[in-house]
């Protein structure tokens, strides 16, 4: 195995991970962070594959399968959490769509239940 290929692969993965971590820290909204954590999981799976090529084993193949199986659960959970929460994002560009009317009673009831719970 050519070491230059491995070093280049690891450098590319590291560069991608740095960009993803920047978005994870800086991301203006929760959805950006959820997306970044999803990509970080994919990069970890790729890093496990590069490690398998480096060591010359195939022992961790099942790990990448498991990552691809359960990796979507976190983003689905966070997306449902964001959706059931009123938005106070400063970049909110879209005002007065019909979603407001459809969602207003639901959000207010959830608000009161949340404050009563505290």
């Amino acid at each position: 195995m050519n070491p230059y290929v491995l070093v280049t692969a690891v450098l590319l993965l590291s560069g991608g991970a740095v960009g993803v971590l920047y978005r994870l820290v800086k991301g203006p909204s929760l959805l950006d962070r959820v997306l970044a954590s999803d990509v970080l999981l994919a990069i970890v799976a790729a890093a496990v594959c590069v490690d398998m090529v480096w060591k010359g084993t195939t022992d961790y193949m099942i790990l990448t399968v498991m990552i691809s199986l359960v990796g979507f659960l976190a983003s689905v959970t966070f997306a449902r959490f964001v959706q059931s929460r009123p938005s106070r994002h400063p970049d909110a560009g879209r005002g007065g769509s019909a979603w407001e009317d459809a969602e207003a009673p639901r959000q207010s009831t959830q608000d009161t239940s949340a404050t009563e719970g505290r």
Binding site: V5, G15, A46, F72, A79, V82
Partner: protein
């Protein structure tokens, strides 16, 4: 000769897969919006994962593991659209989509014109509310 060809193919697959991860990192930093960042996020999840899994198989000559790798890739292919759909819908409904970046917004048109789509959506919202309680 054959071993060299297989090594070159595996190396190219590995580098392409890692290049996808790098492109996703660059895209997540550079792109302006949640939806456009979702576009960048899909690259290492689908094509990148396929390339690195095939690279592992080709470099180790472990042809017996090809069904397992394809199974993992198919699982990613099945679950990535689920999370992308949920994140995209949540970003639209919590108004994280920048309006100047959208070329055509057919959902907003349908909602504004009060078509039967909206009554369907209201029914659907009621159903999901019951489900979440």
């Amino acid at each position: 000769m054959m071993q060299t060809v297989l090594d070159v193919v595996g190396s190219v697959l590995l580098l392409v897969g890692c290049l996808m991860a790098f492109a996703a990192g660059v895209g997540l930093v550079r792109l302006p919006d949640v939806l456009t960042r979702m576009h960048a996020a899909t690259k290492p999840q689908v094509l990148g994962l396929l390339c690195v899994l095939l690279a592992v198989i080709v470099m180790n000559r472990a042809w017996a593991l090809l069904p397992l790798a394809l199974l993992g890739w198919v699982f990613m292919l099945l679950t990535a659209p689920v999370s992308a759909h949920m994140v995209g819908r949540a970003s639209y409904r919590s108004k994280h989509v920048k309006e100047e970046g959208v070329v055509k917004d057919e959902l907003a048109i349908a909602l504004r014109e009060n078509t039967p789509v909206e009554s369907q959506l209201e029914q659907w919202a009621d159903g999901s509310e019951d489900q979440s309680r």
